[in-house]
Subunit: 293 residues, 2 copies
């Protein structure tokens, strides 16, 4: 079994980005600038945004954090998006999800200029990804692809089973894994809550990418010897074993499945750390106008 070390790979990529930024600085170029909009004080969102801001510092980006209280109106938030769209200093920005219920996430996402949509959630970026055109790939699928690439995992002609059909992981990663490219060129099956034959599908899979959010769902009897397992699931469960009082669980029963797997990501330390570096990469691409002019 080979552990896919997302923490190490993400550190490597951060170093690569930092070097490029240092060079840009040395050449007198503008420093990449990522802005983040945070509404309210949700614990998870606070942590994610704080990590993003800290990672910006690590790689040498400029970052801005714009905060609103829970009772911000849609008009105020849309006006903020407009300002960021037209601010020439901001290369890319994100609005941290989820938003309070009185705000339409889809409306906010679509208001973002797709050329600054470094989360890759705007329909233009989703559509271009599907067609196979240059675009901002959303962070989790991009992170998964990068892990497969860095570990030189063979994908061509393989059977890749994706568990989950969400807009931010399942559907985009399925599309990427079937494209005529490397990593890619897989036979891809997407399973979900309605699938009648999920176990058999997993048993026939060469690669399993699971994004269900069901702790320890994938067990040893569901996979074949030599399978590659990418675990996107992260469920926070109360625990007396940790100081914080909770523990993160993936979708995979790691101790069992890792004995059969050829490659496997841990939780935490697998896909998680890759998502932030994907966002940094998109911001770098935005600042270089490498995708859109």
């Amino acid at each position: 079994m080979n552990l896919i070390d997302g923490k190490a790979i993400s550190a490597e990529i951060k170093k690569e980005i930092a070097e490029e930024v240092a060079e840009m600085k040395a050449n007198g170029a503008k420093i990449p600038h990522l802005a983040a909009v945070l509404v309210g004080h949700d614990g998870g969102s606070e942590t994610y945004v704080a990590n993003k801001v800290r990672t910006c510092e690590e790689v040498g980006f400029k970052s801005s954090l714009i905060r609103y209280e829970d009772d911000v109106t849609e008009e105020e938030l849309l006006a903020c998006v407009d300002r960021l769209n037209s601010d020439p200093d901001v290369d890319g920005f994100i609005v941290q999800l989820p938003l309070p219920k009185h705000l339409s996430e889809q409306k906010i996402i679509e208001a973002i200029d797709y050329r600054k949509d470094v989360d890759g959630f705007h329909p233009v970026n989703v559509g271009r990804m599907s067609i196979g055109l240059p675009c901002f790939l959303s962070a989790t699928p991009a992170g998964i692809i990068e892990l497969l690439k860095r570990y030189e995992i063979e994908t061509k002609g393989k059977h890749c089973v994706v568990l989950g059909r969400s807009n931010i992981v399942g559907k985009p990663v399925a599309t990427l894994m079937m494209q005529k490219s490397y990593p890619g060129d897989c036979t891809v099956t997407v399973c979900h809550s309605r699938s009648q034959n999920l176990k058999e599908m997993c048993q026939s899979a060469d690669i399993i990418i699971t994004a269900l959010g069901v702790p320890e769902f994938l067990k040893a009897d569901m996979v074949k010897e030599g399978v590659v397992v990418i675990d996107v699931g992260t469920t926070r469960m109360p625990s007396t074993a940790t100081k914080s009082g909770y523990k993160l669980f993936g979708d995979v029963k790691f101790d069992e499945v890792s004995e059969k797997a050829s490659y496997i990501t841990p939780v935490p330390g697998g896909v998680g750390p890759m998502t932030i570096v994907s966002l940094m990469k998109n911001t770098l691409l935005a600042s270089k106008k490498a995708i859109y002019k």
Copy 2:
């Protein structure tokens, strides 16, 4: 075996559209107007566009045909797209593909205002389809979904195998078949030229949608009893058996497979006639501003 009669269903839908247009006329509303741009004199394209224009007449739409010679420049064609984008009388338009090699199809498609993109090829429509938002669905996937719906074919939890991963059929129909909707909610597998286990996949399928363009590729030993088969393949082969000197072949060896299938589309007369009515439906939606304002 039940034959899925695309010709009959498309006639039914045309009648429904014609009735709605007649009512719009009676109410003094503007008549839906579809424009088609045809470059050169390719036999296939001429036929397709002529059919589209004729179908417009049948359902009571206004249609315009704009022709260019093979040597039209990209600038001229883009200027034409611009004019159609800003012509308030034109509700929707298509640029018939393929285009001569010196023209970038992608550039032309992206120049079309997505609110008039009744072919559903613009990244905004592709992205919105993927996310599950209202959009112009491209004609062939929409036609397939409509056939499944009209024949009340059960799809929830079924295993749907899609053969082919093209941007205009394989990928979008796979996305639609996995969405949380009816028809949909399938476990979906996409196979293609690189798939190592295509035959086994087909044998486990409850529904097969094939869009390979390989005549009579799918044979009886590749499918299970009771399978639903949707054949999108249409390959023109020389034949002495017809007056025209050619014959259309689907991807399915029909005589064999039809004996095992519960439902099957013929070629011709299956998916083919549905694509034009999908285009008409999109044009009607465009004229009513039912998708975009």
